[in-house]
């Protein structure tokens, strides 16, 4: 049952862990609503264009952005304290996994609720998009829930896995991973430029169906979680 204490650790400073991200999200939403109110005065056509253009608005990352760092922080700051207080790695992994899943569930529900209200009220009556955007899914509400949940889970486990790899292997792992990603980028650009049909096939890949993309995100999350669980059991406190 000591895994519960790992969860408690994250609830120690609720304002920092949950209060501020929600407050920042509210501020971002107010700003977007203000923009909607201002732009709305320019007529229905402009408002419709804004509604369409905001499909790609990244304002929701005011909420999702801090979650990207949450996985890093869990291993970088909470892991050393947990082990310092006698928690085993297995207990830490169990508590942390439950926390990741709980966070993803809570935030996915929040985004889904926001998206449903936003869609039902025509962008809160102002023709804006905040929750109902490309990154959270512009389909049905249940799709937003699934997409947001999977994205958050994948990002949390990925962050934890990267920090664990850093703690386990040191800086070289970051340099090697960064170099490999860079090489992959160069290879893709080279493929587009040099290989006939490569660009077309890449576009096909990128425009997979929603279900297929969810499969990809779920696979990334599973691999990240598996890698993290493997690494954390051999991670040492520096």
């Amino acid at each position: 049952m000591r895994y519960r204490t790992v969860i408690d650790m994250h609830f120690v400073n609720r304002m920092q862990a949950y209060g501020w991200p929600l407050l920042v999200m509210v501020i971002a939403l107010v700003i977007v609503l203000s923009i909607g109110a201002i732009v709305g005065t320019q007529g229905a056509e402009v408002r419709a264009e804004m509604y369409e253009g905001m499909t790609w608005s990244g304002a929701i990352f005011s909420l999702l952005g801090p979650l990207i760092g949450y996985g890093f922080v869990s291993m970088g700051q909470y892991f050393p304290l947990a082990l310092g207080l006698g928690v085993t790695r297995r207990e830490f992994a169990a508590g942390q996994s439950l926390l990741f899943l709980g966070n993803a569930l809570a935030y996915a529900l929040l985004v889904t609720l926001g998206k449903t209200v936003e869609a039902a009220t025509g962008g809160f009556g102002l023709g804006i998009r905040f929750f109902d955007v490309f990154y959270t899914g512009t389909g049905a509400s249940w799709q937003t829930f699934v997409q947001t949940f999977l994205l958050i889970v994948a990002v949390l486990f990925l962050g934890a896995a990267i920090t664990s790899a850093f703690l386990r292997f040191g800086q070289p792992i970051l340099w090697i991973s960064g170099s490999l990603l860079g090489l992959l980028g160069v290879a893709i650009v080279a493929g587009i430029v040099l290989v006939d049909g490569f660009g077309g096939r890449l576009l096909e890949l990128l425009t997979l169906s929603w279900g297929s993309w969810m499969g990809v995100i779920a696979a990334v999350g599973l691999v990240a979680a598996g890698t993290w669980v493997l690494l954390v059991r051999r991670t040492q406190v520096r």
């Binding site: 000591r2 700051q77 909470y78 006698g86 406190v237």
Partner: protein, 293 residues
């Protein structure tokens, strides 16, 4: 029963042997001193014994079992390290609340008393605490946890003399009331010498000394007098340290019981006891040139 049993325990970092085939047995319900210079391997050994890091080779038993991933052992082991990291925004009261949940024998009354005694600002962010206040957080956890095995690694860095005395007094009082195994690593050897019952001295990752503290208190004497007389007398002894001022000399030598001191007095030399701290200093200093060769 031994609280700690380590056999040929080693921890290597590439070509550096932080701990090199260490074999020790620490009896339960005693206060053990883990001494040595900076980089001797004290913290590494404690981290191994509390499963913070993994051994390269060798074996260990803590409270009768392997401590690695062993919640039964680790919940009865408290490791207070000077380099403990805390998450951003944590306050002392947060850490104490978490610790209370993790240590079954936690004494909240004692923790509250110690917070008051050390004048610890419980609600201030840890990153805003002074070095001494940070040490007080560790000391309070170490004492209030009442863990059957408690490691204190340089527990009072930055503490003033009053707070250090407070730590010794509270440790001694609580230890007398609730006997447990305490492993204390410190550079302030003289301040804890009366507290220690057994001493392990590490040097360059290896065990240099593993003795009862009482035996070490009389293990060496300091003889002083005229240079020629001191040299003549110490020619038959193992000299740990020698200092000359003009025609006078002082030497620290290993003794063979009371007979060495008596012989020195008979030879017309002044004899003085050597403190545990000076003995440790001389032992490790004497070993340094040999190791360098």
């Amino acid at each position: 029963m031994n609280a700690i049993e380590a056999r040929d325990l080693s921890k290597h970092y590439r070509d550096v042997a932080a701990i090199d085939e260490v074999s020790i047995s620490l009896e339960e319900n005693r206060v053990h001193g883990l001494l040595g210079r900076n980089g001797a391997g004290k913290t590494t050994l404690m981290k191994l014994l509390t499963a913070q890091i993994f051994a390269s080779s060798g074996s260990m038993q803590v409270l009768g079992e392997d401590p690695v991933e062993n919640a039964g052992v680790l919940s009865r082991t408290c490791f207070i390290q000077e380099s403990q990291k805390y998450p951003d925004g944590f306050r002392p009261r947060d850490v104490l609340r978490i610790a209370q949940k993790l240590y079954p024998a936690w004494d909240q009354g004692l923790a509250a008393d110690l917070v008051a005694d050390f004048r610890l600002p419980e609600k201030r962010a840890i990153r805003k605490l002074s070095r001494g206040q940070l040490s007080a957080v560790g000391i309070i956890i170490g004492l209030a946890s009442r863990a059957p095995l408690t490691f204190f690694d340089e527990p009072y860095l930055g503490l003033d003399a009053v707070a250090r005395r407070l730590f010794f007094d509270r440790l001694l009082a609580d230890y007398a009331e609730h006997p447990r195994t305490i492993v204390l690593s410190t550079h302030h050897i003289d301040e804890v010498s009366n507290l220690l019952e057994h001493v392990v001295l590490l040097d360059q990752g290896r065990v240099m000394l593993d003795e009862e503290a009482d035996a070490l208190q009389g293990a060496a004497i300091e003889v002083s007098g005229r240079l020629a007389e001191v040299e003549e007398f110490t020619a038959r002894s193992e000299v740990l340290h020698e200092a000359r001022i003009g025609a006078l000399a002082t030497a620290t030598i290993l003794t063979d019981g009371e007979t060495t001191a008596a012989a020195a007095r008979a030879a017309g030399l002044d004899v003085a006891p050597v403190s545990l701290q000076n003995y440790i200093v001389h032992r490790t200093t004497a070993a340094a040139p040999a190791a360098a060769r």
